[in-house]
């Protein structure tokens, strides 16, 4: 292809620049760093749209033309260079890869990031570490952009860790708050723990495929006639083939970043960061990385049914559990956090149940479509929540209520976002969710039922949130809000995106095998989903539209079940139990004892011995020349005596 994509490199370079410049010189010009970051992000967004426009529209191959590997869309690698060469066959490359997936992700990430930047210029105004904040934000965007365009699996790992670091920095942005520090550490350690699996998976996969490059790995691993494939599938460990192990481990990394069920514990705590950061983490940059990773290696995942099942059931379990927990939370941001987890679960199980190619690949398209639409409405939800929190100065639902009057614009935006996430027709969420449910219906009935149930619960808790915040009782605190343009503009743009994003013919562009996919939705399925969502909404309206005691009584009736769910299934406590009781007591404590008493003791013994010896012989070095001379004389006499009378 031509070099018309040269500008695409700037998509990566600009955020890096705006990370470095304000990071280094921002202290002196705090206002400029915000403007600089937003402007550069605007340019990046324009470039990303331009890239997408070129890729999908102007440079699209003619109808009926297919690339040698069967896809309609070209796989372009720009600006590739070798970073580390081990031998002729193995080298670490850096490159920018363009394919439908990464171009789509570029659009999502840059859009949401731009909105968050713009929003932050108003939201974070007056912060002491304003320029540092923008610097970190740019780093975060840079790492995620680098992740989505990575051309090989090792490059993805590097940017993956960068995402982890920058999320650590941003979650712990208010580092004088102990809970924020703890949350940042928790997020970092949990995802790091998952990344260990990811790294092992990378090593296994690249060992068996003999390459780090995605294109090569996919070519070698996705055909069952390939020698590499039979090698990897034949080798087995604990009764499971090496390929499955590799994929499951890689998925573990993805699950950590995407906050899938057993590794989700960091996500709610990550709400300690500034709200725009939560929007960025939840909508575009961090949690979707896991979905992206699975999608990136999708042809390989398709070769292992076991790995796909793991993905599907983990996703489904996360979707349902998160939705249940979300119903019980009272912190507005935590509800949104669990809803993110639930929606990511949707994407995951949609990927997991999908097959490769044609109609079977509907799940793949649907998952990415949902990623796309979810980014828009989730960013909108978080930014609205940010505006509400800004006005109320509290995260708790009970401190809010009746905000419809003072914040009409936010209220409407939030309403549309809730409709979208509930899957109400003509809003973006409807289309993507519809596709996911259709795909699930055809492939796996259990997961379909889970998804349907989750859809109902989702609309229930989202509207519970909406009614509790904006309707319910009278305005308690008499809030007067002034919404800066920098806050309303992103809300407006995202509202439009939320409403309209569903009309993009997504399957035409992004599909598992690169061929256009036209999905026909079954009207009966749509109806079922809509009815279930409607029930959820009506229940929420019944319970929360007016101030009632009924919700309290229901939760009291549910008793132990309610407490179990409200306690987030006690997973945190379980982990604490395991780490404290098992790891600390059985492994760390004896190890510490050995270290303190035997290793340190040995060292101390050596030190003490040396100290005692030197203390004993120290007076010899008296500094008195006469003593030295006396000893010298005595020594001379003794040696001469020895020489004369003994040696002779």
């Amino acid at each position: 292809m031509s070099n018309i994509y040269d500008y695409t490199c700037f998509i990566l370079l600009l955020p890096l620049l705006t990370f470095l410049l304000p990071g280094l010189f921002g202290k002196k010009f705090p206002r400029i760093s915000g403007i600089l970051g937003t402007t550069s992000m605007l340019i990046v967004t324009v470039l990303a749209y331009l890239t997408a426009y070129h890729y999908f529209i102007t440079d699209a191959p003619a109808e009926g033309y297919y690339w040698p590997y069967g896809s309609r869309w070209p796989y372009l690698v720009l600006a590739k260079f070798t970073w580390l060469r081990f031998n002729a066959a193995l080298s670490l490359d850096m490159g920018i890869a363009l394919d439908p997936l990464s171009v789509m992700m570029l659009v999502v990430v840059s859009t949401v990031s731009l909105m968050v930047h713009l929003y932050s210029t108003g939201y974070m105004k007056g912060e002491e570490r304003y320029s540092t904040y923008f610097s970190f934000l740019s780093l975060f965007t840079f790492s995620m952009l680098g992740l989505v365009v990575a051309s090989n699996i090792f490059q993805i790992y590097i940017f993956w860790e960068l995402v982890g670091v920058s999320s650590f920095l941003l979650i712990g942005f208010y580092f004088d708050k102990p809970s924020a520090v703890a949350a940042a550490k928790k997020a970092f350690i949990v995802t790091r723990f998952a990344d260990l699996g990811f790294l092992c998976g990378i090593l296994i996969l690249s060992f068996y495929s003999g390459s780090l490059d995605f294109r090569v790995i996919i070519e070698r691993m996705s055909s069952s006639s390939s020698a590499f494939y039979s090698f990897a599938a034949g080798a087995s460990f604990l009764g499971v083939s090496a390929l499955t192990w590799a994929l499951v481990l890689i998925f573990a990394g993805g699950a950590g970043k995407s906050a899938m069920f057993p590794l989700h514990i960091w996500l709610p705590d990550a709400m300690e960061g500034p709200t725009p950061v939560s929007a960025l983490i939840h909508a575009a940059t961090m949690v979707v990385a896991g979905v992206f990773l699975v999608a990136r290696l999708f042809p390989v995942f398709c070769m292992s049914h076991a790995a796909m099942d793991v993905v599907a059931y983990t996703g489904a379990a996360s979707a349902l559990i998160a939705a249940l927990i979300a119903c019980t939370q009272t912190d507005i941001k935590r509800v949104l956090a669990y809803s993110t987890m639930s929606q990511i679960g949707y994407m995951m199980f949609s990927l997991g149940i999908s097959g490769y190619g044609g109609e079977k690949g509907l799940g793949y398209s649907a998952a990415l479509f949902h990623l796309f639409t979810h980014a828009m409405f989730k960013a909108l939800l978080f930014l609205c929540a940010g505006a509400v929190i800004h006005a109320v100065h509290s995260n708790e639902i009970k401190d809010m209520g009746g905000l419809k009057k003072p914040m009409p614009f936010t209220s409407i935006a939030f309403f549309f976002a809730c409709l979208a996430i509930s899957g109400i027709p003509s809003l973006s969420g409807f289309y993507s969710k519809e596709e996911i449910l259709t795909a699930a219906f055809h492939r796996n009935k259990i997961i379909f039922c889970t998804g349907l149930l989750t859809a109902g619960i989702t609309s229930f808790y989202m509207f519970r949130l909406y009614f509790s915040i904006f309707w319910n009782n009278k305005n308690k605190s008499g809030i007067k809000t002034h919404m800066a343009a920098s806050i309303t503009i992103p809300l407006f743009i995202l509202t439009v995106a939320t409403i309209e994003a569903g009309h993009i013919p997504f399957g035409k562009y992004v599909s598992s095998d690169g061929l256009p996919l036209h999905s026909d939705t079954d009207i009966r399925l749509s109806a079922a989903a809509i009815i279930i969502s409607g029930i959820g909404i009506l229940t929420a309206a019944f319970l929360y539209l007016k101030e009632r005691t009924l919700p309290g009584r229901i939760s009291a009736k549910a008793g132990i079940v309610y407490r179990f769910i409200a306690g987030k299934l006690y997973i945190d406590e379980l982990y604490l139990l395991i780490t404290k009781k098992v790891v600390f007591n059985l492994i760390s404590a004896p190890a510490a004892w050995v270290d303190r008493n035997i290793v340190d003791g040995g060292m101390n013994l050596l030190g003490a011995a040396a100290e005692n010896v030197s203390e004993t012989i120290r007076p010899v070095q008296s500094g008195k020349i006469r003593n030295y001379a006396l000893w010298f004389l005595a020594g001379t006499i003794l040696i001469s005596l020895f020489l004369i009378y003994v040696i002779r």
């Binding site: 070095q621 500094g623 006469r626 001379a629 006396l630 004389l633």
Partner: protein
């Protein structure tokens, strides 16, 4: 004066040497310590010359060694005194016991 036995000359030099050694061991003043060293050097010179005279009368090594030792003694004395003067400027004392900054 060949009738004087060699060991008598050596007796003188040995006595002088240990007198110097005694002085070095007991004195604290650096200048007196330097004097004691001069005594010891002189006793060595006496030895060299006596051996040259009694044992190797046909050779001159002892004489030359004596000359060199006297030269080096002069150099040593000048350096030592320079050091002593400098020390005195720094510490206002030339007591060897007090100038122990380098101790330990």
């Amino acid at each position: 004066m060949n009738e004087i036995p060699l060991h008598l000359v050596l007796f003188v030099s040995t006595t002088l040497f240990f007198t110097g050694a005694y002085g070095f061991l007991t004195r604290r003043n650096m200048i007196t310590m330097l004097m004691a060293i001069e005594l010891m050097l002189n006793s060595v010179n006496i030895n060299f010359l006596a051996f040259n005279k009694y044992l190797f009368p046909g050779k001159a090594e002892g004489v030359f060694f004596t000359i060199f030792i006297i030269t080096i003694a002069a150099a040593e004395a000048s350096v030592a005194i320079a050091i002593i003067i400098n020390l005195y400027r720094k510490f206002r004392t030339i007591d060897a016991e007090n100038t122990d900054s380098l101790k330990f």
